[in-house]
Symmetry: C2
Subunit: 315 residues, 2 copies
């Protein structure tokens, strides 16, 4: 009999996933709905409620003590609100209060999706056992999170670790965020693909112009495709080195679809890190691929659920 | 009768300063020696010992419970060693053990000078009352330190907050640290002066080519001098915005000689921050000049001294 489960919600622009998770990180019951991302806010909320209702129908539900949410950002953990870029119907949307009501008053925790992935990698993945780590999600965007002094560092608003929007090229191309030369503007999947295309790379007969297709070309020896990944690796290295120099980290864990490029990304990334991480206290920094895969969001959301005090759990 | 004093040591490339400091931050007894920076390591240590001996001669010395050291970096707080760039005789020098012996076995704390300045500003200066702050020292180099969640974030080796050596221009000029486009390479006093000179600025009859002289020209309307400060401000803004985006901070406090340029630096810095600090959770970030002045190193060293547990202090 489980007595200490949490309900985890992973809310993205494409799907809303839920699970009941035990304290070993096992996902015992799952539910999922597509995100009606372009509908009004109440319609999106009804999809969240449908996921929760499906979880609440499980005979394990009475053992659930808390809810953890990992959401596409920005989030405001102190206000309990979310404003996901890809869900326009939610702006300063009071997600924590609405989920608490839908979950019968259980305590609810909220973190951004980069922080959630970091919690997952620190709990079950490549950052396990590291007291100081940076985890990155490199896909359509570039997100991240930090573990400092053995604990998740969320920041007061739950957005810390936003490495995609630090500028590593202060005179560089304008970024949709308003700044210039952000890591995401250089290293995200769409930007890797766009840069390759602009420099003359062309897709194969299937017409696939994704970063994965560029990676396949690079593995086949295409120099333009290789150069686009090298530039992304350079930007990631500058951002990772900046993070290590600012807060001291021992490992950078990289997940997301672009990390699937494997050595096409990791070989130039390790080389570039040696160029940018130069001070004595950051030179030992290592880089590793993420391990928690598609369940990272749910695992991380579970890790972000409020803990019951030990004394209460014993009572 | 004071019962809870600390002995503070501020060790730089020019001077070794010491003081007995009470728990309100009053400097009660002072001592100072020039740093024999180009002598061998033992000669430098004898200057430290002379400062400690002068402090120990005070009738207040029996109330001293601990020693705090702020040292030019890099330092290694976990090993208790220092390797100050400008003191070649000290490389992995066991400063903590040597000071403990010279101070009769008292517990000794060690932090880098950027962290010490941050501790001082958080205790007595412009960062007082802020739970999340970045403090910078902009002078011959660019150093810094972080307060996160209400506490000094030193990192395991005591070097966290090294904002001078994050790259904000990944294709930029080589930095002596080995990387490219570091904040220090663009924004330090010597680099502000060099850039102005390279672009045609010339000193007045006194021949002063310092950043302070460039600042005076800027105040007089010289466009080349103004542009050099604007470029420094842009690099500082990109670095400060990166820090806020990574760890969430509410204020950036700027001290050091270059901060003495006043609005020549702060006006373009605030403008550039609005360009680089764009995400919702960093837009409120403010910038303020440091308040603790020349005693910052000693105050910060005092703040870094190991605390006696409250129960022991009461006994």
């Amino acid at each position: 009999m489980h007595t200490d489960l949490v309900a985890a919600l992973d809310i993205g622009g494409t799907k809303i996933a839920g699970a009941l998770v035990d304290d070993s990180g096992h996902l015992l019951v799952r539910a999922q709905r597509p995100t009606p991302a372009h509908e009004d806010g109440e319609t999106v909320m009804r999809a969240v409620e449908a996921v929760l209702e499906e979880l609440a129908a499980s005979p394990l539900w009475p053992a659930v003590g808390a809810v953890g949410i990992g959401s596409a950002g920005p989030v405001d953990a102190s206000a309990g609100t979310v404003s996901p870029v890809n869900v326009p119907g939610w702006r300063d949307y009071p997600l924590v209060a609405r989920v608490r009501r839908a979950a019968g008053g259980l305590p609810v925790g909220l973190v951004g999706d980069g922080v959630a992935m970091t919690a997952a990698e620190h709990w079950q993945g490549a950052a396990r056992g590291y007291d100081n780590a940076l985890c990155l999600v490199v896909s359509t965007g570039v997100g991240g999170g930090l573990v400092l002094g053995g604990r998740l560092h969320t920041g007061p608003s739950g957005n810390a670790g936003h490495i995609g929007h630090i500028s590593v090229d202060l005179d560089g191309d304008p970024c949709p965020c308003g700044a210039r030369g952000c890591v995401e503007r250089i290293a995200s999947g769409p930007n890797i693909a766009r840069r390759a295309f602009d420099n003359g790379w062309r897709p194969g007969p299937d017409g696939d112009t994704s970063a994965a297709a560029v990676a396949a070309s690079a593995r086949g020896g295409d120099t333009i495709a290789t150069a686009s990944f090298e530039r992304a690796a350079q930007a990631l290295a500058a951002g990772i080195a900046a993070t290590a120099t600012l807060v001291e980290i021992d490992i950078a864990v990289i997940g997301g679809g672009v990390a699937g490029a494997g050595e096409v990304l990791f070989t130039p990334l390790r080389r570039a890190l040696r160029e940018y991480a130069t001070l004595s206290f950051v030179r030992h920094l290592t880089v590793a691929p993420a391990l928690t895969g598609t369940d990272a969001g749910l695992l991380g959301a579970a890790a972000a659920a409020p803990r019951r005090p030990a004394v209460a759990a014993a009572g």
